[in-house]
């Protein structure tokens, strides 16, 4: 949409209360200059949580992987569940920044910086979990594809090796995309800051001046990066799903997994964007930027992806029955009525039933209601991965090989600590980088024209 068209439809602008370019700079850069008391309390909590996280991990490194509840037959537990959870969280950031950019959705501008930061930090969190899970973390470099001492290369037919490529690429590309997008805004911060902060922004803004030459190539490069990130985001969670789907385990070995995981990933990610955007809006005074319209649009995304996920659950049940395979049927019967029935019902309630409330416009437009629903989504999506991973492994083919898994205290410490680790980075982000994309916000603000001022007076 061109700015001229936007001017004509002033009433339909996503941010009708943001009137001028100067207002965008003032409101967004204000966030960087004011570390409130609440921020320090949250930051302290996050730092404590990171200490719990590192403490639990070091204990596991010292004592060995035996301190976790992992054992035959359930060799993948909370760590892999949390890995998939955080990778999934990452996806909505790229969806909002890249896919909605290509679709020219004008409501993405205000929200995309925060969600993209969330992507980068979520991948940073997810990336730790394979290292935690393998136990002997000092051998983590074995993940890098290089030949061993007998010149044997890794097996590229293994989905776990694909996963290394997918996650590494995803982290690199989303970090680059995120940083590139912030450069013009860092320049805006630089032009306003003083002292040490100015030096900091001077260095990381790379001497950006906003010249025609810079903007011309920048906006083109941004389109190509978005065009590359779009198939990437769809591929990453497909590859993660193939970690399971390629294995001949009842409950895993299905072709539905890739689209089902991608929809679930976007669902959980948009859920976390809502969870983070609600307090950001309130504490940083960004009410004019993150408006009810934005939340309503995200609620619709949640509703769509929740429907896809619920449909996938029902398809799985139907196909398990229809396959006529006793192990497949047994696996799904065990999910719903077996030892882990509660996990399955938490999943169905939080992901399938609670979001049905979003069919009502009043709920979609109520920020408090959305905040509560988004917490349900976060919980439900963690349990979805738990159900898929743990119940399937605990109930494979031979009844004498069935077994149960119970997460240990160390695993719970690492799980909770991972949220603190994520929050730690996110809190630093809100202090150091403009949390709303300044330059892109100006695209949805009417530009200053000679005629507009005469008309106004």
């Amino acid at each position: 949409m061109t700015t001229a068209e936007l001017r004509q439809q002033r009433g339909t602008l996503p941010n009708p209360d943001v009137g001028t370019y100067e207002a965008v700079n003032r409101d967004v850069l204000k966030v960087l200059s004011r570390p409130g008391k609440g921020w320090w309390i949250l930051f302290g909590m996050a730092a404590t949580g990171v200490a719990v996280f590192l403490g639990s991990w070091f204990w596991q490194i010292y004592k060995g992987i035996g301190v976790s509840g992992l054992n035959a037959p359930v060799g993948w537990g909370v760590y892999i569940t949390t890995f998939v959870f955080w990778v999934g969280i990452a996806h909505s950031g790229t969806l909002i920044s890249a896919i909605l950019f290509l679709f020219r959705a004008p409501w993405r501008q205000a929200i995309y910086r925060a969600s993209e930061a969330m992507t980068v930090f979520a991948v940073m969190t997810a990336g730790l979990f394979p290292l935690i899970h393998v136990g002997r973390v000092w051998h983590a470099y074995w993940l890098i594809p290089y030949p061993n001492s007998r010149f044997l290369w890794p097996n590229f037919r293994s989905p776990l090796v694909w996963d290394v490529f997918a996650i590494t690429t995803y982290f690199t590309v989303s970090a680059v995309f995120f940083y590139l997008g912030t450069i013009p805004d860092l320049a805006a911060a630089r032009d306003q800051a003083r002292g040490l902060r100015k030096k900091f922004y001077q260095i990381i803004s790379l001497g950006w001046r906003g010249t025609d030459r810079e903007w011309h190539h920048f906006s083109k490069a941004y389109i190509y990066l978005a065009a590359l990130a779009t198939p990437l985001v769809l591929s990453v969670h497909s590859v993660v799903s193939w970690d399971f789907a390629m294995a001949i385990v009842p409950g895993w070995h299905t072709t539905i997994f890739a689209p089902y995981f991608v929809a679930g990933a976007i669902f959980s990610g948009v859920g976390l964007v809502i969870t983070l955007a609600v307090p950001m809006r309130k504490f940083f005074g960004l009410e004019d930027y993150l408006t009810v319209k934005h939340f309503e649009a995200m609620a619709k995304l949640c509703l769509l992806t929740s429907s896809i996920v619920l449909y996938a659950y029902l398809t799985e049940y139907f196909l398990a029955w229809y396959s006529g395979e006793p192990p497949e049927r047994g696996s799904f019967w065990n999910r719903v009525f077996g030892h882990y029935w509660w996990a399955n019902w938490i999943m169905l309630t939080c992901n399938g039933f609670v979001p049905l409330m979003l069919w009502f416009k009043r709920v979609r437009r109520s920020i408090a209601a959305l905040f509560v629903i988004s917490i349900f989504i976060n919980i439900g999506m963690w349990f979805e991965r738990f159900v898929i991973i743990v119940t399937s492994l605990s109930h494979e083919y031979e009844p004498w090989a069935w077994g149960l898994y119970r997460p240990s205290v160390v695993e719970m410490g690492i799980l909770l600590g991972s949220f603190a680790w994520f929050g730690f980075w996110f809190l630093l982000f809100t202090r150091l980088l403009p949390p709303v994309a300044i330059a892109e916000m100006k695209e949805v603000v009417p530009p200053p024209m000679r005629g507009s001022e005469e008309a106004a007076t």
Partner: protein, 181 residues
Amino acid sequence: MIPAKRRQGHRGFFALFEHLDSTIDACKALRAAGHKGFRAYAPLPEHHLLEEGLALKHSPVRVFTLAGAMTGAATGFAFTTWTSMDWPLVTGGKPIFSIPAYVVIAFECAILFGALSTVIGLFINAGLPNLRRMVAYHPECSNGSFGVYVTAPAARADTVKEILEGFKPAELREDPEGFDV
């Protein structure tokens, strides 16, 4: 920081505009008068300014993207194929050259190389990181105003000044020795 590059026998003018249309018209007028060595500054990627005002066309960044992505795909395929051929070992009854499996690696490499080479293309074409001293610049250009900087030979400097003044800039700065921007 590197000192800014000066242009011998040239004068420089920095005009700060409050309005987008004035900036576009000033750029058009400068181009009509045959000036080429000027830069427009904007706080946002303003397509009217870039396309109408400055008539900028395709950016060579796309060539970098394509070349990077193709190199990545070729590298991914070549790497997986070569390592499997290097020590042919059948695993899981799959062929030594397993195309569907290698497509995944080739795809991820295509994206990775494509994205990184897009960034390199941007940095080369846009001249980033720009380590020269920020002389021909105004901090308002990242806030709410637009700017035009013209470097003109001394003989034509007065006409440039006249053109810029015609569009009522909020501020007009003159450098006795123009900078190369």
